[in-house]
Amino acid sequence: MTGPQIIFLAAAAVTLIAAIMVVTVPRLVHAGLWLILSLAGIAVLFIMLDNGFLAVVQVAIYIDAIAILIILAMMLTRAAMSDTEPQINRMWLASAFASLIIMAGLLWIVSQAPAASRGPLVDAEVGLDALGRALVDVDGFILPFEIASVLLVAALVGAILVAMTPARGD
């Protein structure tokens, strides 16, 4: 077993165990902290895929923004649900069954894929330069880039509007 394989298995184990803790621990704030660990594991795997830029983006957006936002929302809504009442609904067995079926199906597809045992392509250096140019290039990805920007602005304005304090008598 080579070095990269050991690193992969360690990162994968941390990611998966943390993810399982996210969906099973009864205390919500602990689940949020486990979520951060799981996202960090994903960032390590991004580095293993030779994309340091996306690993940094993962840390900056997921861990820094999204996870903190989720934990803040937990703190704002703490009174709504105590940690002692059941955190999973009565359909959890059926949910677990459905998840397992989906996972079995995905694994079957993976086993059928002709490229599954392939190794990585050589010299896959993604230049940040080229990425930045491609994002604003008319022949590149300017349309998805602009649509993503408009979506972000609309979503954030909408979020402010939805979360605004309701007017008196509402």
Partner: protein, 102 residues
Amino acid sequence: MVPLSWFLILGAALFAVGLFGVLARRNAIAILMGIELMLNAVNLNLLAFWRYLWSDSLTGVVFVIVVLAVAAAEVAVGLALIISIYRRRSTIVAEEINLLKW
């Protein structure tokens, strides 16, 4: 060398765990966390495919960036909705938010 299938298997497992969280948790914020796990599994798959099969083009990386932007938008709107529901009905338990249930 780490074969491509390892990344795909991890992605499948992570997706299933996130799906279980979405289906089984009662707290709406915990459901959002399950969605984040599923999106991360998808991102991992996209980037693995890019690295192993199409690393000469930038399409895979741009795909991941767009998914990240959509995830950020989704979590902002989702948490705003949850806080708004909490203010009006003082609950965030998914099965008690049943005003639209027929």
